[in-house]
Symmetry: C2
Subunit: 443 residues, 2 copies
């Protein structure tokens, strides 16, 4: 008996997991390799950052999800290199895996546009660790404001700047406003959390630039109603422990803030870059790899790319956005293409993204949605958002847990996951001392 | 108008939180100071360590719990010193708080009996961070066993040693056995998780030494039925990355294991020690402070001690154990004593611990309980355990979440919180490399 066709999938995000699941009944041996032991439901990560959900509630262990899929093994590991001619992937620990077909779904990371030093002061929202780090930053800010020695210091602790007004930035701003206005309103004795300033800085001239214009306008109204200040057309030039320096036209200004969150750009991580080099593939400026209509790399028909790493285009020539839906459909397509080839057929028709629409939640009972071209906002959009997100959460158990958390939050404004872990008092005191020391030095 | 009586409470555990809540209607100003922003339901921490619950589900933000209690403020900070004559506590950041009455409920930490170097290899179960660290260790062990190069290496990864067979050790062993036998049984392709060895090492001659003897015997039967091996009368003499060295009588032996968990001794943390020094109080060998019948320190009637730091005795002369019930009742008593004094009355009668009993859960539908002297085991004890623990969880929302998690786990053996976070692949690979390098060096 000939050995079975070996499919190696790199990455267990939306693209990789969907690809693996769609190969369940195919006559192949699947190896899914991921750095983490879980699939993360990224669209709800901002709710972990804002204390509504626990990480466990939006993560599903990959082994558990795939345990009954007999032709599939899951391995913890990080791919660092590939030999596309020998058809082999190499992991960081030196282990090598041979493949007959490779699906690369290693996703993207955050870009600080060449200013990686900002990362220290302005965490982004890509991993579970960053989400809990943001949660700690937000909750600590109110704690230190309560214990501040001067009005000025309290004010800096109560100023929150979010850089980038895409869906993540808007959702963070909305959730932060709700924390300040409702969740914490009775919790402090010296400060009034409602006096917190939440500022959204955007380089472009409208929020949610990827959405139709009327929904941008509506989203801006909704988020302003929560008390969020929006600054459009500003370019951030520096971020440090004191706040943000930005340019607005020719004017350079500073805004003091102890908490800055980065909801900015996207970059390709190192394996994706290495793959581009090894396959001599054409890439765009962030490193996404241009794929053929069947999602394979030119000259390497056995390597498929799905998700954020793929530079695929729509019939109108626009490139597809790096969102969950595109990733899921890409993963599914790659699996189908492999199944078709095993039967000796070409992958046809070519990959075509079926755009069901976009949605962003801005606050309690407030969202905007573009569903099959229908523009909806406010409560109806919010209900659709809730329903769709609950449906797509991977494990039934998590669906129930998230439903319970959301139900309580709707009724009581309480947030179930408001713990600050990880940093000890010592670390924190040091941070506080350093922050005030540098305030003194700066003033 | 005279300023109100100031009560400072150090620690927001069972003792401190109960004391604060019992002062709700008293004519006092309460300041509750804790290093963490949450109250932790410690008795369920082993379920966080074994992936059944998320940290958020057993933690309640102190501010949230006390937000409607107008006379109480919560502060994040760590007390490092006290001046009992000036009636002042000093925090690590230098802030000082004057009190009229002080309730010290700073609890205990883990003791490695003078071998703090073992901590690196054998984490204990005291904080949320340690619980997630243990969870990662356990889950990674199976991952590395799956990827092991040799049978011997796989065997070392699949050997788990728990040191100490008190309630925590027994509960960890039972949960680990369930993980190996049920939760992960379909998840791996090379290894069989059911072949994992779980070994409980105990220095004394029976498990659950604090329990009546018949319950010890029953608990041992229950945990053995799950496949746990019990070694009694062994003294651990060394723990490192390779495993445990122990003495059994005159014989010294080694057991190779990559995962060692410490469910051993108790120590008093540094503030408790400092308090003992400042008040010239009598302490026992771990540093617990001998208190008067009203829980105050001799010569300092304004300082009360509640919880693990207090060395209080029962009428029969035995000292009270460091458990949640004693802490809750101690906190409540200290609050009552302060209220009585404000009315010019002595605190009477003296503190007397009302022992409702002990219980430990050993596995699915298996527990032992001593309730008001009634000895129960098996399913009835387990049901009582479930009910009581659900009742005592602080927030209603968490009660529902824990109920959902337990319900699913009972029905499906799935564990909702099985993520490995915090360590990157790079760290892990390094750990793995180092572990195998030292294996080679040792062999």
């Amino acid at each position: 008996m000939a050995p079975r066709h070996r499919v190696v999938i790199l990455g267990g995000g939306f693209a990789g997991l969907n690809a693996a699941q769609k190969l369940k009944r195919a006559p192949v041996d699947v190896t899914l390799i991921d750095r983490r032991n879980f699939h993360l439901f990224q669209p709800l990560l901002y709710q972990v950052a804002t204390g509504s959900l626990s990480p466990g509630e939006i993560a599903a262990p990959l082994r558990g999800v795939l345990s009954r899929q007999k032709n599939t093994q899951v391995l913890l590991g990080e791919a660092v290199d590939v030999d596309p001619d020998a058809k082999r992937v190499i992991l960081r620990d030196g282990a090598a895996f041979d493949y007959d077909s490779l699906i690369v779904a290693t996703g993207s990371k955050t870009s600080y546009y060449g200013h990686d030093e900002w990362k220290e002061w302005a965490p982004s929202l890509k991993t579970v660790e960053e989400a809990t780090q943001i949660r700690h930053k937000i909750l600590y800010a109110f704690e230190w404001a309560e214990r501040a020695d001067s009005e000025e210091e309290a004010r800096a602790w109560l100023t929150f700047i979010i850089v980038g007004a895409g869906a993540t930035g808007m959702e963070l701003a909305g959730a932060l406003a709700e924390i300040a206005n409702e969740t914490l309103k009775r919790d402090f004795r010296k400060i009034n959390p409602r006096e917190a300033r939440i500022i959204l800085m955007e380089g472009g001239n409208r929020v949610l630039a990827a959405y139709p214009e009327d929904l941008s306008t509506r989203a801006e109204e909704l988020v302003k109603r929560l008390g969020v200040e929006i600054m459009k057309g500003v370019m951030v030039t520096d971020i440090n422990g004191q706040g943000v320096t930005y340019k607005h036209g020719d004017v350079t200004a500073k805004l003091a803030a102890r908490t800055v969150l980065w909801a900015g750009g996207v970059d390709i991580n190192s394996f994706g870059k290495q793959l581009g080099v090894r396959t001599h593939a054409e890439t765009d400026k962030v490193g996404r790899i241009k794929v053929k209509p069947d999602l394979s790399i030119p000259n390497y028909p056995d390597i498929f790319i799905a998700g954020d790493l793929a530079l695929a285009t729509r019939p109108d020539g626009k490139s597809l956005p790096g969102v969950a839906q595109v990733a899921m459909q890409g993963g599914t397509y790659a699996a189908k293409a492999i199944r078709a080839r095993l039967k000796g057929k070409p992958a046809s028709p070519p990959f075509r993204y079926f755009d069901k629409g976009d949605m962003a939640v801005i606050g309690r009972a407030a969202a905007v949605a573009n569903i099959f071209g229908l523009h909806v906002s406010g409560l109806p959009a919010w209900l659709i958002w809730l329903f769709i997100h609950l449906m797509y959460i991977v494990e039934f158990q998590n669906r129930i847990l998230v439903f319970v958390q959301w139900g309580f939050q709707y009724l009581t404004f309480s947030r179930g996951a408001r713990l600050i872990t990880g940093a000890t008092e010592t670390d924190v005191d040091r941070a506080k001392r350093e922050a005030s020391a540098s305030t003194r030095a700066a003033s």
